[in-house]
Symmetry: C2
Subunit: 445 residues, 2 copies
C-alpha cells in the first residue's frame, strides 16, 4: 500500500496536526494514522483496503478549510497529499494543465507564469488545488472567472471501492453523459478522492489596474457595483469593506483610511482597453455619489489595496489573539447584499461582537468574521446565534448558506433548511457511490 | 392530471410531429399520447402516474435536438411544454430570471431587452430553454459565457416518483451540498423533468463589433485565434469556416467570398474599450499572416457575417434537398483543432461526401455537416463511418464525442468509448433517480 514506511505516521504531533482545520473551532478528533501516498497506485490501494475493512478516509491538503472538512470525526486514515504535488503537464496551447491534487495554487501560478498563463482563483490562503476542488472554493476573482468548479475540465478520481474513473476531457466543453466532474467537485471528499485534476488556465492579462472608491453609504456602494455589471464591465475583482471594518483596520495598522464603505477594484486586460474602461467605471462610481476615487496601474498600490483587505482579518484577530476567528459564508441575490451586510453588522453589534465584514460584491457572497473562544459556552452560543440569524436572513431571500466554504461539519443543519427536499436525493448519490460510508464520513449530511 | 382534454392529443399528425427531432435520421417511434401540461402541478401528477404504471415520459420542447433526444423510442408520453412558456420573474438587479422550461431563448431575449439585459447562449435555432438545459447546448458565445449549464443558477425539477426538488438558489454561486443543478443540466431528461429554471443573465453590451479575417491556411487561422486568447482578449464570438465551405456558400449564394479559411469575430463591451481592443486583435491577426481583414460596428455587416455562417448549412442542404443533414459534434483540445478540421475534410472527401465544416474555434468544438439519405444502407454506412473516424480522432487526442449536442441515441456507443470506466457510475445515479426507467428511456445509455 504505502511502499515506504516514512510515508506513514502515527506520531501524536502529526495526528494532532491532521485533526483540525484553519479555524480549530470544529469539534474534532485525531486520525488513527496519517498516510502520505505518492501516486495513484498507492492511493487506489489505500482506498480499496479501507473500503474492505470499513475504515474512514479523510483527504487532507493544507488544512485550510474552515468548515471542518479535514477533521476526522470518526478517526481512521488522514490522507495527506504532500507527496502528490506534481504539475504533470502544462498544455499551454490548450489552456489546460494536469496536476496532482497536492499542488497549491501559488505553486501552479509560479510555473504558469513562465508560459504567460495564470490560474485566477484566489481564496486568500495558498490552498491545494485538490482542496479547492473539494470545497468549490472561489474568492475575489469569481466575479469574472467563476468558482473552482468551473475551472475543472476533467479529473481522475478514485471511488470508494478503489475504482479509478476519468471524467471530462481536455476539451473546453462537453455534453457527453452525466456531468460527474462538477458533481465530484464540491463534494468535500464524500463521493471520491481526487487523483488528478485537469484545470482550465488563462492568458495572463497584459495589465492590471487597481482602484478604490469610498462611498457615503453601503447602499450606494452596492448600487455602483451593480451598475458596472449592468454595463457589461467585467472587473477581475470587486470587493466591499464596510465602514466598521475600515475603522478596525485603522486602529490596528495606524492607517488613516476614510472610515466609510469602500470598494476595492481590479480591472485587467489590454492597457489601452482597460484605460478606456476605467473612465466609464469612474463615471458610474461618481454618478452613484462616491467621494474619494483613485486608480492606478502601479502594482505596489495594488498590493497595498489587497493588503488592506487582508488586514481586516488580522485586525479582528488582533483584538483577541487567544481566540479563534469564526466566519460566516452566505451568498445572497445581488440586490439583497446591502441589506444583508447591514443586517449582519446589526446582529454582531446586538451580541456585542466586534468583527469585519468582507464582501465579494460581484457575487453577493460576504463574510462576517469575528473572534470567539469556542470553549466558553456563552461565546459559542453567541457565535452560533449570529451565524444562524445571518444564514436565515439569506435563505429567506433566496440565498445560500455557503458561497464558497462548503458544508463540512459547520453548516449541516443549514443544508437541510436550504435544500430539504433535495437532500434525500443527494444522499441517494452518496449511497450509490460510497455504500460503506468510508469517504469523509460525518461531513455534509 | 391534464385538466383540459384539449391539452391531450392522440392524433396521428401530432404524434408523428413528436416522433422525430430536427435531423429526422434517428430511428424513432411515435409516442402513444402527447400531453401539454400547463403548470407544475399537472407535470407532477403526470410523472407520478407514469411512474406508477411504468410508462415512458419524453420531454419535448421545440424538437430541435439533433441526437434523437426527443424521439420516444419506447412509445409512451411525449410531454410538450408549449403551455409552460411563461417568464415568471425578471430580477434585473440580481441578473437572474425565473422561467418555465417552454420559454424559448429568443422569447426571453425580447423581454430582457426592455431591461438592458440579455441571455447570450445561442445554439443557432430558437430552442426552448428547457431543451437547451437538457442537452447543455451552447453555440457561438460559449467562448465567453460557457454553455447553458453554466447559466443555470437553480431549478425546480420533478423526479421520477413525482417529487419536486429545488436545486441551487438565486445566489450567483454556492458550495452547499452536491451540485444537483449541473448534474440534472445535460442529463437529457433521463434523471428529472424541469419544471422551472433560474438563469443567469447579463448586462447588454453597449456595442458589438464585427470582424472577418481571411487566412492562407487553417493552421494560421487557428494560431491567430489561440494567440488572442493567450493575450486575454475575450471575443464574444469567434468562428472558423474552412475554404471548402466558403466555396459551397459562394456557389449557393452567388457570393464572391475569398475561398480560404476564414475567421468570423465579434467583440463586445464599451465602445471605447472595444475600439482599443480591436487594434490589438488586428495586429495579432496580421502577424499571423491574415490576408483580407475588415471590421465594423455596423450591425448590418454583423448580420451578413452570421448569415454567411448560416448559409453554409443551407448551401450544403441545397446540394440534395431530399436528403437529411447529418452533423458531427466533437470537441478537441484547442491545439488539435486545425489538424482535426483537416482530418474531417479528408475523411469526407475519401467518402465522396460534400459538406460544411463549422468550428467554434475558441472552444475546439466543430461540426462536419453533410447530407445523407438514411434509408439507403450504403449512405447510412458512409455517414456512420465518417462520424466514427471523426469521433475516434477526437477521443485519441483527449477530446469528447459531444461538445454541445449531447448523447441521445446517436452517440451512445461513443459515450462508452470515451467514459467506459465512468459509465457504470453514471448508471448508478440513473438507477437511484429513476429505478423504473420511465424518464426518457433508451437515451444516453
Amino acid at each position: 500500500m504505502i511502499r515506504d514506511p516514512k510515508r506513514l505516521s502515527t506520531s501524536e504531533a502529526i495526528r494532532q496536526q491532521h485533526g483540525r482545520d484553519l479555524t480549530s473551532y470544529h469539534a474534532g478528533r485525531f486520525p488513527d494514522v496519517v498516510l502520505y501516498p505518492k501516486d495513484k497506485e498507492e492511493l487506489r490501494e489505500i482506498i480499496a483496503y479501507a473500503n474492505r475493512i470499513g475504515c474512514p478516509i479523510v483527504p487532507f491538503g493544507l488544512g485550510t478549510s474552515v468548515e471542518g472538512q479535514v477533521v476526522p470525526v470518526q478517526g481512521g486514515i488522514s490522507l495527506n497529499f504532500t507527496h502528490m504535488n506534481r504539475i504533470l503537464e502544462i498544455r499551454a496551447d490548450d489552456f489546460a494543465v494536469r496536476v496532482e491534487p497536492g499542488v497549491t495554487r501559488m505553486q501552479l501560478n509560479r510555473e504558469l507564469k513562465k508560459y504567460g498563463l495564470y490560474f485566477p482563483i484566489d481564496p486568500g490562503v495558498d490552498a491545494t488545488l485538490g482542496g479547492m476542488a473539494a470545497t468549490n472554493a472561489s474568492g475575489c476573482s469569481a466575479v469574472r472567472y467563476g468558482s473552482t468548479r468551473e475551472q475543472i475540465l476533467g479529473m481522475e478520481a478514485i471511488l470508494a471501492d478503489g475504482s479509478p474513473i476519468r471524467t471530462g476531457s481536455l476539451a473546453k466543453k462537453s455534453s457527453a453523459g452525466y456531468n460527474l466532474t462538477q458533481l465530484l467537485a464540491g463534494s468535500e471528499g464524500t463521493l471520491a478522492v481526487f487523483a488528478e485534476l485537469t484545470l482550465r488556465v488563462y492568458g495572463l492579462p497584459e495589465t492590471f489596474l487597481y482602484a478604490k472608491a469610498v462611498f457615503p453609504d453601503l447602499q450606494q456602494a452596492c448600487k455602483a457595483a451593480n451598475r458596472m455589471l449592468y454595463r457589461s464591465i467585467q472587473p477581475s475583482k470587486i470587493e466591499l469593506v464596510d465602514a466598521y471594518t475600515i475603522q478596525a483596520i485603522n486602529s490596528y495598522k495606524q492607517t488613516k483610511y476614510e472610515e466609510k464603505p469602500t470598494l476595492f477594484l481590479e480591472l485587467s486586460g489590454w492597457k489601452s482597453a482597460v484605460t478606456a474602461e476605467v473612465e466609464r467605471v469612474k463615471e458610474i462610481i461618481q454618478e452613484e455619489g462616491a467621494g474619494a476615487w483613485s486608480h492606478t496601474f502601479d502594482e505596489s498600490f495594488g498590493e497595498q489595496l489587497w493588503d488592506a483587505r487582508r488586514h481586516a482579518a488580522l485586525a479582528i484577530a488582533a483584538l483577541a489573539p487567544e481566540k479563534k476567528l469564526m466566519t460566516t459564508d452566505v451568498c445572497v441575490p445581488l440586490s439583497v447584499l446591502p441589506e444583508a451586510v447591514s443586517f449582519a453588522r446589526e446582529v454582531m453589534q446586538a451580541e456585542d461582537l466586534q468583527g469585519a465584514i468582507l464582501g465579494h460584491i460581484g457575487d453577493g457572497n460576504y463574510h462576517a468574521v469575528f473572534p470567539i473562544d469556542p470553549s466558553v459556552p456563552e461565546e459559542a452560543a453567541k457565535a452560533a446565534k449570529v451565524n444562524e440569524r445571518i444564514v436565515r436572513f439569506a435563505l429567506e431571500r433566496g440565498g445560500t448558506c455557503s458561497g464558497e466554504h462548503g458544508i463540512g461539519l459547520g453548516k449541516k443543519q443549514y443544508l437541510t433548511e436550504e435544500h430539504g427536499d433535495a437532500v434525500p436525493w443527494m444522499k441517494k448519490i452518496k449511497e450509490a457511490f460510497d455504500p460503506n460510508h468510508i469517504l469523509n464520513p460525518g461531513k455534509i449530511f
